[in-house]
């Protein structure tokens, strides 16, 4: 029994060096050669960092494509979903009021035009994407607010739809940050 204790202590020390120092440092070194040098990929406009490529940010102004509702207000210091259950009456009220807000700013929409992802909070609270439909229904509002041709904005959305992986696997998405950057450039 005593020998097990000594062996346990020594083995723990040896493995700590292998697993907690050597292994992560090797990966950190390898990661230096990735986009963003291991610190996460950032997006720059005119030499200024405006966000992280993979992290969603809050867009709720009239001139931008809105991002999804978030339980953490897109504060990337933390991350969380709403954890509201499907039958929770308070939660259902929230969803209803989000629908009302959407209809208020997009009076041309019917309820059945609104895709669920635009009125529900994401799992991380930092979802960078929208479904193509969720971006498309906002086109008319943005065209009106920016005095742009509706077709032009619709085309912009179309060109920002990211196809499924290899064209085969998973859903199509639209990255909201990329889309809004392109939108600003279009307006110039």
């Amino acid at each position: 029994m005593k020998s097990y204790i000594m062996q346990s202590i020594r083995l723990t020390l040896v493995l700590t060096v292998l697993l907690c120092v050597i292994y992560p440092v090797i990966i950190a070194f390898g990661g230096k050669f990735s986009k963003g040098n291991g610190g996460g990929e950032t997006v720059t406009v005119n030499g200024k960092v405006v966000g992280y490529a993979n992290i969603g940010q809050k867009f709720d102004g009239p001139r931008y494509f809105w991002s999804r509702p978030s339980a953490v207000g897109y504060n990337a210091a933390g991350s969380a979903g709403s954890n509201k259950g499907p039958s929770n009456p308070d939660y259902l009220k929230d969803v209803n009021s989000r629908i009302d807000t959407l209809l208020k700013y997009h009076p041309y929409l019917k309820r059945s035009d609104i895709p669920a992802d635009l009125v529900t909070a994401s799992g991380s609270g930092l979802d960078p994407d929208l479904s193509p439909a969720a971006a498309q229904i906002q086109v008319r509002r943005i065209a009106a607010n920016r005095k742009l041709d509706e077709k032009q904005v619709a085309q912009l959305v179309e060109s920002h739809i990211q196809k499924p992986l290899l064209g085969l696997f998973g859903p199509a998405t639209v990255n909201v940050l990329q889309l809004n950057i392109a939108l600003d450039q279009l307006s110039k």
Binding site: Q7, I9, S34, G39, N88, V95, A116, D129, P164, F169
Partner: protein, 572 residues
């Protein structure tokens, strides 16, 4: 066929393509036969030498379990103090505080037992030091502990009669050097090159396009996310786990992560068959488990794709299914696929929030963890299934009127007693825990505690009950996922689940290893025409029936009070 369906079919196919050769490799490697990774022998020799270990010393099942428990208890004690004083240790760029004693108690247990319940949030509850030196360290070693215990069981049945179940240190170290570490290096690099941070830089700050100042938590996450999946641990770097866009940046990384968490559990089942020279047994068990998996997965996918009935009533379009708590880049199908796998293989990582899934999905998630033997966690999956096998052998023996046998070893009262106790343990821990918390919630809701019981739940009604049931089920299964709306970082939940975690881990390891050790010592009785063969499809179906009956009897009432009641209240 749509791209979401293709995505999960491809994921499963890739899993099998990797797991099958991996299973053969593991059987050979643990048996000490020549394999291509033998070039790592000098590394292992070095580890043994520095640790004063003789990897060739035979151990009987008692010595094996003693060695295993000694090192596990050491980690418990050491980790508890490190977590409490992490604020005074280096590598804390974000200045996070030390953990409270009850949180440290819960955290250290949950990582030692391969559960990763995480009553804290990764961004603020731990430091880079503890993320690596405690959390990630234990993600390797707890998985290796489980695998080593499973190999001891294999070893007991390889030879006709044996006292020796193999050397714990040998299996344990090899699980790391020959399996977990090399695979982790590959997966971590793949993640690092696909958007997951891997450097030690602390929080970053930027000003968003709308002018908000945003802080971004980062850190060496890729390293940990690799082993969190390969070792079926599940504990995330970030609070939102694999739903977080840095922890799981794309559909591609999602496929990598979901494949990673399945390959070792499947490979271990096949390795069992190869190791004891009964290849067919591995395949039969795998078949039973796959059927079980599909029975949970298909209704899960269907209930998520169907969307929320309450939101349907509001008239919005749910063509993409239920989206609350889900990420657009994965979509509901890959999220449903993940939620089934993470609950059956005891990973407990999530790529969408389980608390917000549909009521029936919640029922399937719970059932997956209650059964806890369809593939199951690293190593412990086969141990759990072995207990079901013993019960099935015993019941079949009674039905045909013969002494039950397991590969030429008579299964007698002692072994069956152990198996029965282990089987009863899970429902006892889950039900007793849920009953206690429900009682406190109802009768002492306003007790003068730091967090009043009445403030525990994030959702009212049946769903609130499900939150408590889920927490105890997840703890007992060493799963680690949660209905995270539950306010669980307080003394009651930290302590109650801490005890359940430890009992739900070690008794179901000790039990099967003891049974295997006892059986392995017995005189070998050659198989004859009258022997009930257990590597047949018929016996596979028998085991499946035993699993269904046992779990239905144990858990139906609890499921009826939680998710089923919620379901019927929503569709009325």
């Amino acid at each position: 066929m749509n791209t979401e369906l293709l995505g999960i079919l491809a994921s499963f196919l890739i899993t099998l393509l990797i797991a099958i050769p991996l299973g053969k490799y593991l059987a050979k490697m643990f048996a000490g036969e020549k394999v291509w990774t033998d070039f790592l022998k000098p590394l292992e020799k070095g580890i043994y030498k520095l640790s004063g270990i003789n990897p060739n010393a035979p151990m009987d099942w008692k010595q094996f379990l003693k060695a295993m428990m000694t090192i596990n208890i050491l980690w418990l004690v050491y980790g508890f103090f490190v977590l409490m004083f992490q604020d005074k240790l280096p590598l804390n760029p974000d200045g996070n505080p030390g953990q409270t004693p009850d949180l440290a108690f819960n955290t250290i247990i949950s990582f030692v037992v391969n559960c990763n319940l995480q009553h804290y949030s990764g961004e603020s509850g731990v430091t880079y030091f503890t993320q690596h030196f405690i959390v990630m360290f234990l993600q390797f070693t707890s998985a290796a502990t489980g695998i080593a215990a499973a190999v001891a069981l294999f070893k007991a049945f390889r030879d006709k009669t044996t006292q020796n179940v193999g050397n714990f240190w040998d299996f344990f170290v090899k699980s790391i050097t020959r399996l977990l570490l090399p695979l982790s290096v590959i997966v971590a690099l793949v993640l690092a090159f696909n958007g997951t941070p891997s450097s030690y830089a602390g929080k970053d700050q930027f000003i968003s396009m709308q002018g908000d100042t945003v802080n971004v938590s980062r850190g060496p996450a890729a390293q940990m996310i690799a082993i969190k999946h390969l070792g079926t641990n599940g504990g995330g770097w970030f609070g939102a786990n694999s739903a977080h866009p840095l922890e799981n940046p794309s559909y591609f990384t999602n496929m990598v992560e979901i494949v990673s968490q399945m390959i070792i559990p499947i490979a271990m089942i096949l390795a069992f068959g190869y190791f004891i020279r009964r290849k067919k047994l591995g395949w039969v068990i795998c078949g039973v488990m796959t059927v079980g998996m599909l029975m949970l997965m298909i209704p899960t996918i269907s209930s998520e794709l169907g969307g929320s009935p309450a939101i349907a009533k509001m008239g919005v379009s749910q063509v993409t299914g239920a989206m609350e708590g889900k990420e657009v880049r994965f979509g509901p199908m890959a999220t449903a696929y993940w939620s089934t796998l993470t609950t059956i293989v005891s990973t407990g990582s999530v790529n969408g929030m389980h608390d917000s899934t549909m009521p029936l999905t919640g029922a399937w998630q719970l059932l997956g963890m209650m059964i806890n033997g369809f593939f199951g966690g690293c190593g412990v999956g086969i141990l759990n299934y072995f207990v079901y096998l013993i019960i099935a052998v015993f019941i079949s023996g009674l039905m045909v009127g013969r002494t039950p046998e397991f590969f030429g070893h008579k299964v007698e009262a002692r072994e069956v007693k152990i198996a029965a106790l282990i089987t009863l343990l899970s429902p006892f821990l889950i039900m007793a825990g849920t009953a206690l918390s429900s009682y406190l919630f109802v009768a002492h809701g306003n007790a003068d505690w730091a967090v009043k019981p009445s403030a525990w739940l994030n959702n009212p009604g049946f769903h609130g009950f499900s939150e408590m049931l889920y927490e105890f089920t997840s703890s007992n299964a060493n799963n680690g996922s949660g209905f995270e709306g539950l306010g669980d970082n307080n003394i009651f939940w930290n302590v109650a689940t801490g005890f359940i975690l430890i009992l739900g881990r070690f008794l179901p390891i000790i039990g099967p290893v003891a049974i295997a050790g006892l059986l392995g010592q017995k005189k070998y009785v050659p198989e004859s025409a009258g022997t009930l063969r257990i590597d047949t499809v018929t016996f596979g179906i028998m085991t499946f029936a035993v699993i269904l009956v046992l779990n239905a009897l144990s858990y139906f009432p609890a499921l009826a009070l939680g998710p089923l009641a919620e379901y019927f209240s929503m569709i009325k």
